[in-house]
Amino acid sequence: MVHVTLFSFFKSMVSFGSRERKQEIATIQQEDHTYTRGNIENRGPCPGLNALANQGYLWVGRILQAFCDFRTDVPPDPAMGKTLPYHESKLP
């Protein structure tokens, strides 16, 4: 069940190379991507998304906000989409 509208599709192509996107990409590249296996109870059937979460790449919420025009009144949350092990690793 794929929901891709023509407008949002072309919008993403235009906005992806913007300065904000480049800054976001640089931020993601600088983050800690140490592998931490997540609990199966918090995982889904997709090994690709599970792997992205295990390696701290899963910023899906922000990607969707950027591409799908979701709730543009809400600023992106840097913690959005991060895994529980990631947050736990940041605790003192």
Partner: protein, 168 residues
Amino acid sequence: MTGLHMSSTLASTLAHTLRPLVRDDGTFDLRDMRKHNVLEHDRSFTRLDFRQGDNYTFQPPMFQALLDDANDGPVTIPTLAKTYVRRKREAKSSGAPRLSISLWGVNLIQTVSFYHTAAMSSLSKETMTTFYVEERFPDQILKNSKKRTLPGLIWDTIILMQAIVFKA
């Protein structure tokens, strides 16, 4: 998608597929991926079908069958076609309902999605094991800066369909 060197078009398209699972605040949980016949569907290569009770836990015997289809590796599009045909046959013989047109497309694309993401001519047993068993992208994939594109994914899907029809 930055870490996987995806083009903006491919990243956007893949992100859009998650919209049915996204909450009002723009987030979703990986657990939500378990919802049957949204994105998750029967005939997974490494997960049981929905009616079997657990459609999300990795099943080692199914993974071994995937490797067996490739004579223990390397995995290529023709071996993925063989696995696709086997899983379709297994689902049919067990009385599973047919996939909808949209999920049939999702199933085909997902069949080659890791192959395309890896950007390798073939997937070794070690690469497959790292991805499916450890659920981790190997360094050789993350460090391979070859651009992954939507046309490339579509092309791999076409090659898969050709292999399904003529070879598998």
